[in-house]
Every structure is written in structure tokens, then in C-alpha cells.
Amino acid sequence: MVKVASNKTKMREQPPEERIRNFEEVPYGYSMEEAVAEANRCIQCKKPSCVQGCPVEINIPEFIRLIKEGDLRNSIRVLKETNVLPAVCGRVCPQEEQCEKYCILAKKMEPVAIGRLERFAADWEAQQGDAEIPRMKKPTGKRVAVVGTGPAGITVAGDLIQLGIEVTMYEALHEAGGVLVYGIPEFRLPKRIVAREIAHVCRMGVKLIKNVVIGTSLTVDDLLKEYDAVFIGSGAGLPWFMEIPGENLNNIYSANEYLTRANLMKAYRFPEYDTPIAHGKVVTTIGGGNVAMDSARTALRLGAKRSIVIYRRSRNEMPARDEEIHHAEEEGIVFHFLTNPVAYHGDALGMVQEVECLRMELGEPDSSGRRRPIPIEGSNFRIPVDVVVVSIGNSPNPLIPNTTPGLETGKWGNIIIDEETGRTSKKGVFAGGDVASGAATVISAMGAGKKAAKSILQYLRDGKW
């Protein structure tokens, strides 16, 4: 057997000192040679365990084998059999906790860089012009409405349209893509990639209606009069705040607002674009997840001299992906671990000036399995700040549950579904993604979308609930 290189083929990146001054994507992606070298590290297991780590069960060894052979056209076909968004997933999936975690190589060395190869194949396809339209089943005459155009909604729409079902996607904002366009920054997921994927499902025949808020412009019951089934993938769009004194001072943002202004509204190009955003010398982000990393790194690119992340536990407990933390550290983000804000102080105009924090220590593990942070009494100290971004999580937006009689929700306002089928408590209504699970990942939303698409098809055939 050929000896396998113990490390992943490196992906070239913009150097940190350069990239913090622009919004361009950080990694450049593999060249053909690099991709083949990496594909050659895959030993083509007879019983591949990587596939079980993939929420949409991509035939991973097969798409990698085709890259090895230089047959990129078929490689992308294999990817797209189960994943309508490979260019997105190749970039933002937490592969280290999914496919790559189960890669046999990972027992002794670095796993195969499955995510980078997925991205490579998808980017190759994009360079060839419009993506290939897959074979479509003949029209069934059935109609489905998809609410929300994030990863869950796009997956459901992409799957159903191929099965001969007429699909209409409804988007509340002026641009489709959900969290992929308002939340994830340009430097991590270029918006042209999302736009291309949306255009692709539309070319397959999916109808897209923007600027319609389901729950107010139209209710789910209105949709049920026109469609045979409804899928709700409206995401986790309600930002949490800590409810501490001074939190409503100016220049304290939710991460949703900060990122929406920067990404969707293109405030980084103000005044060419009309939407402003506060540019501070010192920007402090509260939280330790991927969204916090996105916010802190966006702050640097908006010109912050110092971008600080405050997290109440230690580095080990941070929920952000290693790659994101690593990129943030490279870019000079300053981390204050075991620190928790307790109040904000402002000036006479109501602008935030200082964040008052407490030092924390770690106690026994809590229900999440992570060690619980415990405040150290009297350890209060203040950090001078210009801008604060609160990035401590989101819950599902209540607009739809509040206006849909018969739709059961859980403790966090999440729509309750049957995990295997995506069925809600209301006949003909399916849901999936963050609106059901609470804030999670792009790929888990897509996995939920796939399951829902299957069971929607079943329901349209037999009408059984």
C-alpha cells in the first residue's frame, strides 16, 4: 500500500495582516494538483465510516475517487445527489465533528480534508458556467410552499422540485439565502456563491417570492388553502440579550443586527450603501460561538484597532469551530476568557463607553457537559469600549407559531416536530432547521430538510397524517 501523507494538503490563505483589511474570502481553495494530492490520501475504505458522520449522507469516497481520476463533472454529480449546496457546506460545515471525525485516518493522523475537496469540486463546477440541471421527474400536479430560503428551505425546495412537485419559496427579506446571506460574513462565505445556489434551484423551476413575511403578510393557514403542504424553515431569528443594566445603550448590537448591517445591507460600503454601522476603535463581542467569531472578525475589517471577545468559560469550552478560533487568533482578536459582562456604562448621549465585567472560575460540569462558570465575587473591572456585539444565541422567531393555530411549540419557542419526518402537530405542515432545533448548523438544517422532503412526498402520495 502507498504510504499516506500524515497531514492534510494545506490550503493557501490570505495572510492575516492583509485579510483583516478586506472582506475577501480567507482561504483560496485547492488547485487541481493540490486537490488530487489530497484525494490520494483517501484510502477508499470498503465500509466508509465518514458517510455516517454526514447529516446528508454524501457518498464521500466516490466523489473523492472521481477527483483522483480528474473526473470532476461526475464528482460534482455525486455530491449533488444528496447535497444541493456543496459550495456552501465545503466552507461552513464543522467537518471536524462530522465526516472527518469518522475518517479512518483520523485514528493515527490528520483525516482526509473532505470539506476542502467538496469545496474544490463545487468551485470547479461554478467556473464551468451554469450548473447542470439534474433529471427531473414528471410533474405530479402537487404544490408545496416553503417558508424561508435558508439551508433547510433550499434543500426541501431543491429535492421536491426534482420529484415533480411544484415549489414556491417565500422569503421575508429582500434577498434569499437566510442566515447564509444575513449572518455568515462575506470573508467566510462569499454572497455570490449563495446567489448562485439560489439561482440554480430557481432554474430547476422553484418559484421564489421575496418580501413576504409569513405570519403577517400571509399566514400558514392562507398557504394551506393554496398548497398541498407547507414546510417551515424560518430559522432562529430572535436574538438573545443578557438583560443586564445599560444593554440598550447605543452601539450595543445583537450579533444578528451587526452582521445583518454588515453583510445583507453592505454597511461596510457605507456611504455608497445607505445603511450605517458603528465603527469603533475598540469592539467587544460577547460570546464564544461561530457567530461571535464572525462578529469579532467583521469588526476588524470595519477598521477596529482592537477586537475583543469576552467569553465566560475558558478556551476549551468555546463552541466555535477550531478553524474559526484559529483564524480569529491569527488575525489578532484578543480573548478575555472566564469573564462575564454584568453592566454597561454610557456617556451623556447614550453611547456605550465601558463594559463592566466579573471574573469567573470553572466549577462542576453542567447539563451541557461543560464546566459551569461561577462568578468570583468582587472581581468587577471595566473595559473601555466603543461598540459591543452581543452574540449569546438566538431562539426561533415567534411570528409563525403566534399566528398558526394548532402548531405546537416547545420551551424555547421552537416548533415541535417528529425528528424522522419533520411533521409538526398541524396536518400538512412540516418544519425543520433552526426553527425546530434551535440554533444549530447549516448542514443539520439541510439534513432536516432532506428528511422533511422525503416525508412530504410520502404525505402527498397517501395523504396520511
Partner: protein
């Protein structure tokens, strides 16, 4: 794209746009608002609604030109299109049998109070409408509002028409004289709504105000529109925009409206 089917300057700096938006028109109720975005580079701006026609599928909004984004809207002509016009958003005003209701408007809110007065009147209430402007040339829709009111009281700051002073002065006088008012609804600039709330506070007359904070998405996603009501943080876009004026933290509302005051200068210089 949404087409402008009519437009006019009601008075200097206050404009009325009528848009062809059948879906919005079919659902809109008094108290709702919409979000408008003129073009690709535009901001998302929340506007209250001044009128609608469900048969024709049109919705009209009155707004004041205050900065670059509203100037863009003011420059739109008949037949032009806007990229985004989404609604209805927010909660509708609870329309009930209250008794005597004072419907109070100023600035763009003279337009916005009209459908509220109309709905409250047709629900069988006695409606006293109060409108105000700096001077008589800034008043509009007096006849329209009179038709849906049992009485109309006009105030101008310079006394050039009606009574001299403000809506809040009138309310204080009326309540001081012992006139019975069961509910006050006020729409307009923040300061006017604040003054009205202060005028009615000591009389204990419930006063509903339609807050107009800065927003982005308008669907509860961002929290830009945070206000404090009764000591609790609320999102005006989904929890409001209508709140009890006696419970609102007005200092915070005024401060948050000025969050981008420096950006406005940059924006104006650039255009």
C-alpha cells in the same frame, strides 16, 4: 418590484407615496407598519401607513424627508418602482368600544392617525381628533380627518391657525376642564408623543403611542428597535409599534433615534 401609482408633496417636506401592493393592502390594519427600501443600495425604512384601498390593492404612506434615505423616497415619481415594500408588520391597534377617543397626530402622523380615527369611529366610538403643525402651511388632511371625527381640534405653534400651541396643551386643557376621554392614541414625531403622554399622565388616561425607532429587518430578527416599556426591553417591530406612553422610557427612545447622527452627516456629504 413595487410600483408607485401616485405621489404628492402634502406640505413642504412631508410626502405621500401610494404603491401598488395588493397583498399588503389586503391585510393591513390600523397600527401596522411597512418597510420600504428604495433600491439595491437603500436602507430598510419603517413607515406607518396613512391609507389603503383593498379593491385597488394600493397602500399610501406619509413620511417626512429627514435624510438621504427619505430624500431618495421623496424623489420617486409616478411609475417608478421600489425594490422592497413589505408588510403588514407589527401588531394592529386593538379596536374596541372605548367611549371617547382622542386621535392625535403631528408631522407624518397627521396622515397615519387618519385610518386609526376612521376605524375607531366606525367601531362606534366618539372620536376627537387633534392635529398640530408648526404653522398653518404645514397642516394637511384636515377635511379628511374631520369626516371621520366628531370633532377636530387644530393647533399651530405660531398660532397661524386654530389654537396656538400643541396637541399636548389641548389635551391638558380638555382633561383639566373635566372632559371625559377614555383613550388617547398618538402618532407622530417622538417629542410630540412624549409631550402627549406627559399631558395625560396625571389624569390617568390611557395613552397609546406608535413608536418609530430605527429598524433593520422589521421582523424581530435584529433588535435594533429595542425600547423599554414598563422597565422591560421590547422590540418595537414585533411587540409594538404601539405601546402605553406612560410606561415608555422616553429618554431611551430619543437617544436611540440619534444613534447614527454622525453617519447622517457623512451620508449627506457623500450624496
Amino acid at each position: 418590484m413595487i410600483q408607485i401609482v401616485d405621489r404628492s408633496m402634502l406640505v413642504p417636506n412631508i410626502h405621500l407615496l401610494t404603491l401598488e401592493a395588493p397583498l399588503v393592502a389586503s391585510k393591513i390594519q390600523p397600527g401596522h407598519f411597512v418597510i420600504i427600501k428604495a433600491n439595491e443600495k437603500g436602507e430598510r425604512i419603517p413607515l406607518t401607513v396613512a391609507d389603503w384601498n383593498r379593491e385597488k390593492g394600493t397602500v399610501s404612506c406619509a413620511f417626512m424627508q429627514v435624510g438621504r434615505s427619505t430624500r431618495k423616497l421623496a424623489a420617486l415619481k409616478m411609475g417608478d418602482e421600489v425594490e422592497t415594500f413589505v408588510g403588514p408588520l407589527g401588531k394592529a391597534i386593538d379596536i374596541n368600544r372605548f367611549g371617547t377617543v382622542a386621535c392625535v397626530g403631528g408631522c407624518y402622523g397627521i396622515g397615519s392617525i387618519y385610518p386609526v380615527a376612521r376605524a375607531i369611529k366606525s367601531a362606534g366610538n366618539r372620536v376627537v381628533s387633534l392635529i398640530e403643525a408648526r404653522s398653518r402651511f404645514l397642516l394637511y388632511w384636515e377635511e379628511k380627518i374631520r369626516q371621520v371625527s366628531d370633532a377636530l381640534i387644530v393647533s399651530t405653534s405660531d398660532g397661524s391657525k386654530g389654537e396656538k400651541g400643541h396637541n399636548s396643551d389641548r389635551l391638558r386643557e380638555m382633561l383639566g376642564e373635566g372632559q371625559s376621554i377614555d383613550l388617547v392614541v398618538a402618532i407622530g414625531c417622538t417629542f410630540m408623543m412624549y409631550a402627549v403622554s406627559e399631558a395625560t399622565r396625571s389624569f390617568g388616561v390611557k395613552t397609546i403611542v406608535s413608536l418609530n425607532p430605527i429598524m433593520v429587518d422589521g421582523t424581530g430578527m435584529c433588535g435594533a428597535c429595542r425600547v423599554e416599556v414598563g422597565g422591560k426591553t421590547k422590540f418595537a417591530c414585533v411587540d409594538g409599534p404601539d405601546f402605553d406612553g406612560h410606561e415608555v422610557d422616553w429618554g431611551l427612545v430619543l437617544a436611540r433615534r440619534k444613534a447614527y447622527i454622525r453617519h447622517e452627516t457623512v451620508s449627506e456629504e457623500a450624496s
